[in-house]
């Protein structure tokens, strides 16, 4: 996706102006450099985000940095559960974006974040190695059921139920009555992908966003829509750089952010 720079700049200007028109004064600003109404953000913005958001968020972060030369955006990409654990143990951060609502709830319950906003959703797909050792086949027309796709004796990797992608996997497997199918419960979606890429399993349930690049073949299936997980984002109550945090979430929720998310394979929340 290539956006003309002028247009990009204009949209960002508008966005920032909107953000600053709200309640809080710009944090850490050391003078009006940009001129006009553009608030200058500075310091460091720390974003804790689910690993599946790595590409999209990195791009958005660069956009924000381009607009605010004094601002440095730092990301901590990891499993949502691990991030939630770090936050409840007191890790300093400005923004938390999780891969499911349960992990956001953990942080909210700990009194660290107020209202969260959903910004995207992700669905599972059935990924398989390039040589398709189990000979998985899709019916000629329509979106198949996961039950139709899975032969009886295949080796299947899924995420552990404790992590968001695993909770969704559990749900779809229950729907088709195949909770006995997994051979391994991986600690995160990377573990599933690794085993698929190495050809050590016949198939794995991974996020749609993980296979968007087309390197790993995958089938969509009907049950995934009902078991999608939705991504909430929140500015943390004790955010050291609240202004920048708000600017980031605004960018994420803007048309610009939505387009980036869709391009990466996410659905609307």
């Amino acid at each position: 996706m290539r956006v003309p720079p002028a247009f990009l700049l204009a949209s960002l200007l508008t966005l920032s102006a909107c953000g600053s028109a709200g309640d809080a004064p710009p944090g850490g600003s050391e003078g009006d450099r940009g001129g006009g109404t553009l608030p200058t953000l500075s310091g460091t913005l720390t974003v804790f985000a689910a690993a599946s958001l790595t590409d999209v968020f990195t791009d958005l972060g660069e956009q924000l940095e381009a607009q605010h030369p004094d601002l440095e955006v730092q990301f901590n990409f990891a499993g949502s559960s691990a991030l939630a654990g770090q936050l409840t143990q007191g890790a300093p951060a400005d923004v938390f974006a999780a891969a499911d609502e349960a992990q956001m709830a953990r942080v909210a319950e700990a009194g660290l974040a107020g209202d969260a906003e959903l910004f995207a959703s992700n669905r599972l797909m059935l990924a398989f190695p390039a040589d398709n050792p189990a000979g998985l086949r899709k019916p000629p027309s329509g979106i198949p059921s996961l039950g139709e796709l899975l032969p009886e004796d295949l080796t299947l990797a899924v995420c552990a139920p404790e992590v968001p992608c695993g909770a969704a996997a559990q749900e779809v497997l229950e729907q088709v009555g195949r909770t006995d199918a997994p051979d391994t419960y991986e600690e995160d979606v990377r573990g599933v992908l690794t085993k698929v890429q190495l050809g050590e399993v016949d198939a794995g349930l991974v996020y749609r966003t993980d296979v968007m690049s087309g390197e790993i073949p995958a089938f969509a299936f009907a049950e995934s829509e009902a078991a999608q997980n939705r991504y909430p984002v929140a500015v943390l109550d004790d955010a050291p750089n609240a202004a920048a945090a708000r600017a980031f979430t605004d960018l994420l929720l803007s048309e610009e952010g939505r387009r980036a998310l869709t391009d990466a394979g996410f659905f609307e929340p």
Binding site: G79, S81, A82, G85, T88, T155, A157, A160, E162, V163, P182, D183, T184, Y185, E186, E187, G191, T194, K195, L198, G199, E200
Partner: protein, 268 residues
């Protein structure tokens, strides 16, 4: 243990860092114990998956230690005694698992023993054996990561042992194998025991290579560290209880063995 020095005062330049070292190593442990929700202990202990994971951990770590002894002691002998040219390189290679991130070790094991791997694909074609996602894979992953600890420890013991005893044995008609069996092995037994303990402890705590190469499935490949890590994702309290349980069992095992060994050494 040296009796003659018992009661000798420790010099302050040693005492202070030593004390800090003890605190550094034991405070996290203490933190774990303080945070342990003891009321949950009973419920966690009787939870069905926990016993399974604990049993699997103990069995696989013990098997891995056995396998390490079988392969590692002869390997240590070769490293310590042979005058082969490539010995230095060999030693460096053998210790690679020490520096390799265990997850990478797991991927490497796939490349060899996985069903697409060099050896694994042959095993699959010829015998229909697939190793990944089985308890065998757990033992292999743990052995891969833990064996270098044994090898290094035994090699050190062999180097420190007086090689002249082997000369004596030779002049008394003992061939290389008899010498190894009836002189060298008993001489380095304490080193082997120490190495085996290190190896067992490392195998018991193994996480990265195991979850990568063996996967995570309750009853077959889910060892305690995997169970702890996944519990941490959802319920940190449960994870703490499981950790304390693993800690208790391993400490008890080591103390028990230590007493037995010390008892024997004392009789000697």
């Amino acid at each position: 243990m040296s009796r003659s020095r018992e009661g000798a005062p420790v010099p302050a330049p040693l005492l202070v860092p030593a004390a800090i070292g003890v605190l550094f190593l034991t405070l996290p442990l203490l933190g774990l114990l303080v945070r342990t929700p003891w009321s949950q202990l009973g419920a966690q202990l009787t939870a069905p998956g926990v016993g399974q994971a604990l049993r699997l951990s103990l069995v696989s770590a013990t098997l891995a230690t056995g396998l390490s002894l079988l392969l590692g002691v002869p390997l240590a002998w070769v490293l310590a005694r042979s005058r082969a040219r490539g010995r230095t390189v060999l030693r460096a290679l053998v210790t690679v698992p020490l520096v390799l991130p265990p997850v990478v070790g797991g991927v490497a094991l796939f490349l060899v023993l996985g069903r697409q791997g060099v050896v694994g694909s042959w095993l699959d074609d010829a015998f229909g054996i697939t190793i990944p996602f089985t308890t065998t894979a757990v033992v292999i992953a743990e052995t891969f990561v833990a064996m270098p600890f044994l090898v290094i420890s035994v090699e050190g013991a062999l180097r420190a042992a007086d090689a002249r005893f082997e000369d004596v044995a030779a002049t008394l008609g003992a061939g290389r194998w008899t010498t190894f069996r009836s002189v060298t092995l008993p001489l380095v037994a304490p080193g082997i025991a120490a190495g085996a303990v290190l190896c067992w402890a490392r195998a018991l705590g193994e996480f990265g290579a195991t979850i990568t190469f063996a996967g995570n499935f309750p009853g077959t490949t889910q060892t305690m560290p995997l169970a702890v890590y996944l519990a941490l994702q959802r319920d940190p309290d449960a994870a703490i209880v499981l950790s304390v349980l693993l800690l208790g069992v391993s400490l008890a095992t080591l103390l028990l063995l230590r007493d037995r060994w010390l008892g024997r050494a004392g009789a000697a």
